[in-house]
Symmetry: C2
Subunit: 243 residues, 2 copies
Amino acid sequence: MNNAWHKEMLAEVKAGGRISDQDIVEKVRRAVLMQRLPPDTKLPEVTLGEVFGVSRSVVRKALTRLASEHVVDQRPNQVARVRAPSIEETRETFEARRLVEGEVAAQLAGQLDDEIMATLETQARLETEAYERGDEPARIEHSLTIHHLLAEHSPNRVLGAMLTDLVLRTSIVIALYKRPSLASCYLENDHPRLLDRLGKGDGEASRTCIHEHLHSLEALLDLRPRENSIDLMSILGRTAEQT
Amino acid sequence: MNNAWHKEMLAEVKAGGRISDQDIVEKVRRAVLMQRLPPDTKLPEVTLGEVFGVSRSVVRKALTRLASEHVVDQRPNQVARVRAPSIEETRETFEARRLVEGEVAAQLAGQLDDEIMATLETQARLETEAYERGDEPARIEHSLTIHHLLAEHSPNRVLGAMLTDLVLRTSIVIALYKRPSLASCYLENDHPRLLDRLGKGDGEASRTCIHEHLHSLEALLDLRPRENSIDLMSILGRTAEQT
DNA sequence: TGACGGAAAACTGTATACAAAGTTGGGGGC
DNA sequence: GCCCCCAACTTTGTATACAGTTTTCCGTCA
C-alpha cells in the first residue's frame, strides 16, 4: 500500500473515534487526490481494515463506493487497486467536464447571491496566495473548493452531482499526467475572470470561460502516448531476437 | 415487497443456476423500470436474500450498487426503498439528459457504421410494430435499446456512461409520472427522424432532434405539484389550530 | 376515544469463519 | 539456462452470528 500514509492513518484513527465506511471513502479519495496513494496501488481489504480498525465488511462497502466513484478498480477475486485512467479516458473526462461545467456556469451566471460570490472570491484569493508561497497542496485545495461550490450551488442538482464526480476525476488525472517539469497547474487569472463573468450575469461568457480554463488545464498535461506494458513486451521480444 | 414479482423471481431462480450480486442489480432494476416494484416499495435484505437464494452479504452489495445508480434509496438503519424522484428532480434529470444525449448524438452523426445503423432502424421498426399491436412493455424495450445503443457507441465513453445512467433515470420517472390517461409514451416518427439525421451526418440537426424528442416526452408527463406528505402535514397542522 | 409508553419484532451494522479463487515461488524437466 | 507445473500462501466471496437501532403493536391512562 503506502507505508507513510499507512502510519499516518493509524495515528489519526487512534486519536479519533469510531470510523464509518463513508470516512474510509473520504480518506482514501483524499489520499488518491493528494497522490499519497499512486495509481495501481493495491488496497487489500484486511490491510485497510487493520489501518482503520474495522473489519472487512466495512472496508468492502467503502471499496464498492469508491469503485462507483471511479477512484478504485474492483475486479472479481482480485485486490482492489487505485485506478489509473488511460490517456484516452483523460481526454474524454475533460471533454465531458467542459460540457457539464460550462452548462452549470451558464445557468449560475447572475444567480449567485453575494455571500457565495464573496466565498468564491476568498477562495480565489487564497489560491493565488498559496501559489505565491509555493504551497501546492493548499492551492489545489482552494481551486477544488471553487469548482465544488459551483457544483453544489447548481440550480440543477442532477447536473451538480455529475459535475462533482467529474471534478474529482479530472483532479485525479491531472495528478497522474501533469508534466513533471511543472511545479503547479496554476492558471493565473482564470478563476478571477470566471468569477467576474459569473458576477456580471453573462451566461455565455461564463461558459466560454470554463471551456477555455479546462482546455488550458488539459494543455498542461502530457497526454502523448507512452511506452506502456504492451510496448515493453514488444521491446523485450526484440531483445530476445537480438540475443 | 411485491408478491407477484416475488414468486416469479423465486421460480426463475430455482430454474436457473447461481445468482450473483450483479444479477440481483439487473433484476431489481428491470422490475423497477417495468413498474413491477413501485416507488417506495420496501426491499428488506433478508427478504431479497430469500427470493434470490443468497445471504444478506450479496444482497447488501447489490443494494449499494442500486443506490449508486439512483434506483434505490439506502438510509442508515432503515430498509432500502425503491426511490421516488421528486417532480423537481424529474425536470432536472430531463434537462441533464438533453444536454448529454444532445452532445452524444451530435458527435455520433455520420460516424455510425452501416451495421449499427441497421440495428437502430430495426429497433425503431420493432418499436412501431409493438406500439401498433398495443404491446407497451415491448415498445419500451425497443425504445430503450435505441438510446442504449447511442450511449454505448458514443466515441466518448465517459459521456456514454453518463447517458446510460440518465436514460435509466428518465425511464423510471416516466413510469412514475406518466399521465394515467395515456396508454403509451410513444412519439410517432421521433426515432426514425433522429436516425435519418444521424445517418445524414448532420450533428446539429441530430442534437436539435434529441432536444425536441426529450421535450415532447417530458410534456407527456404530469409534473404539476401535488398533495404530498409535506402538504398533508401543514393541512393537519391547520386543522389542529382550528380545533 | 385518543394519545402515550414500552416491550417485542423486524431490520440493519459489524465481526468472523469457512470456502473458493488467485498469486507466488521453488523444483523438476527440457 | 529457461520454462512449466504444482503446492503453499494470500486474498476475495459468501454465510452466519450477535449487537444495536428502528418500527410496530398492544395495553394503559387521561
